[in-house]
Symmetry: D5
Subunit: 116 residues, 10 copies
């Protein structure tokens, strides 16, 4: 059962493509490495989208986010990468990715990127 | 007095059809089965609508939501089904169904569908 | 000093009719009887309005809401009745009445009616 | 189905009299009349007890608390009366009744009575 | 109906002197003048007591607390004075007075005095 | 150092008149007298404005609000008076005054007035 | 992967039996049927224990709690049964089971049972 | 490792200049001196911006905010200065600076300035 | 009026030395320098004491805490120093000093020292 | 500057060994791998201790907790290991380690171990 983290995102068919509706998936279990200090960062990821033909499958999303665990990632870059990877995989009608990072040096950072 | 869960939704006449007003009914006692793992999911259902000629009767709504208790249901599909069933039963001027599901695998999901 | 509950609403002159401004009065001490079960319901009433020539006098509003204490009242009907009675008494430029009812059978209900 | 409020408290057998365990029942739907002003008071009732041979049946407890709805009752007296009535009906190993009343004249009151 | 603030505390008989029980009265509408700056202070007063033969009457307590409105009062002195005045008036089995004062110069103060 | 309360509002020059920006000043230490009951009312005052050439000086604002301490004032009238006095003193590009009053007779009141 | 609910509790060896330490496991996903009304109840279960030689395995605990899903169960009886079943399976040095049930008829119930 | 506070803001290239996205950086560790009383003020700074070619580097932002520690600064002036300095350094597509200052004399102040 | 920060603590006579009562003074405006990184730390200080003959005067306490602003101070050492300085100045019957420091490197620290 | 995670804990001398006082260090950035599923777990670690001659140095504590990042660890075992490692390194007068783990399969776990 233990799976390996992977950047591959799996999709499932949208059961109601005839209607514009919104899906929000959120986890407070995001972690990656700070490229400057080489130390772990922790945060929350919120993905909101209106699906077209495809939904993102949740277990693969979990594996995908896990794949950043031991990678260096700037907050702004990783947020845009998550958005790009999810756009490519699910081709939604619209999507927003928000990452909320815990305090470093007294400063908390939130990055929000949307398409279109 | 103990009733059986059923998908039948009962309606009562809107006492004020001459005015557009909004009704919100909300329960944090929604549960169904995950079709992937076969295990129970738990969540909250919020239904907001502007009635036309009919209101949904609350006890039948409770029975209706109870009918999902031992059925497998994907979050996105069940949300759209609840909206469709309520639209068919009450023919409201507008309606939104929001389902908020507890964390599975570290990820929480919210689905929001509206008509029109 | 003890007064009797009454449906009569008393008004006082608006001290600033030359300006559109908003008044919100709110109580979490609303109770009436459920017409279906014959048992007490409890809720909150929030009234927001832009007065024209008249303000609603607060003690009479309290007596007015008290008058529902032992009357049967559906959530949707009583909300529209409160709005209608307050419109008739104070003729405001605009008004919203929101009633928020405690859980019955696992379901909480909120009704919001506005004029115009 | 509509029942009448009554001061009669019904009991059911304790399924585990061989063990000291605690039951807490709580409602925020208590209301009675202020004997001084003749106007409604609102509050919360919390009953904590270690049952001996009997549990209080919840529907009869609801009817019992409802019976105060149109009676005048001082906060201190009604709290002690609820304790006395429940002691008489359920003969628990120990019991505490706490009533928490909403603000009147800017002052909130809480009364807590225990046996033994 | 408008009354004058006064230091006189009125009592009513304890309806249940045979039992030790606790009464908590609390207001967040305390204000007096700072004797150092001559400017208003604001705070909360919480009085907890086990009555013996007498309860403090709430309207007179409100008048009593109001009587400090335009008097200069150090936090520590006024807390002990309230305790002394209430002890003298109600002769309780035990009593605690807690005053919680809003921030002055970045510092918040709470004073708690008990008898015996 | 002890100053006297006064209705005079002092202003200071806006350091950045070339930019529209917003200032919010807020205090939960407002008190005045109820003209009906002659007893104290307590509340919060929030003033939001876009300054033009002048800012309101905070110490004078404190003195100004203090000046209502022993005056009778209806919630609606005092809110409009504060707005009028501040408009006259600071001539802002726009301003909103919101007053939030504590519960009286179970009812809380909020008044919001804006210019223009 | 989908498992069947079962009352069998699996244990794993305590990695530190030489030290008294406390484990708290908590879920807000408990549901069973009300034996009186035949309708679903929802609640939270908190289990606190000092293990001796055995820990309860979490997946089997989940299956165990799931096994109540379609069984009728009084709040007091089910709490004592969970305690008894866990005592039998894990023979802890001490254990407390607390169940917190959502509002029914305006009344919320919490049951707390401990051993020894 | 200990650095000196400085007004110099360092930038890094925006990894995704082709997309409009938003960055929020926030610290509750702002302090400067009140120019009127000569005593310390404390507050929170929230900076929201859509970057163009440059991001503000967080460590230099920390040093920049630190540089106000022993400088006198009016709330309105320092907010506009932070906005001006960040505009000059990062030339964002749009930016908002919000400063939220702790209570002085019972009054809390928030200043919000935006570009364009 | 602007004063200089100083380690001198001023006292005033206890108005009620005949009674053991508790005073809590608390500020969330503590700041000093980290001796390791040379950068500012921020925290909250809570001082609880039962006075004997002397109270600490609040303005001098504010000046005293301000005196740490530009000094290097380890969390554990500064907490014990504040306790020692206050013990020496006020000779209380008992005293506790608690300092609560904001997150550094993902870790928050609280230090609590008491006498006797 | 980037350091490597390590199980070595560094200590610094207690500046006040003559007094029993308490230190609490807490981080919500703990993560390790579940030995059963091979997937990441997330949690909070709270360490409370009365130091004797030694304090734990915070940066080495951070590195120590980081060293679990890619190790498999049962909740109960890792809590006892952290306690054992900290006891060996700092030889405190007493110490408690509490770990609070996020929901897995609907169940949250907290483990608390103390010495002596």
């Amino acid at each position: 059962m233990p799976s390996e983290p992977t950047k591959e995102l799996i999709t499932v068919p949208n059961p109601e493509p005839g209607r514009d509706y919104e899906v929000l998936v959120e986890t407070d279990e995001m972690t990656c490495m700070c490229p400057v200090t080489g130390q772990p960062d922790f945060g929350t990821v919120r993905i909101t989208y209106v699906p077209d033909e495809l939904l993102v499958e949740l277990k693969s999303l979990k594996m995908y986010l896990w794949s950043f665990r031991n990678e260096g990632a700037f907050h702004e870059a990783v947020t845009n990468q998550i958005l790009d990877d999810l756009l490519r995989a699910t081709m939604p009608r619209r999507m927003t990715v928000e990452t909320i990072w815990k305090v470093r040096g007294g400063i908390a950072t939130t990055v929000t990127a949307s398409h279109p």
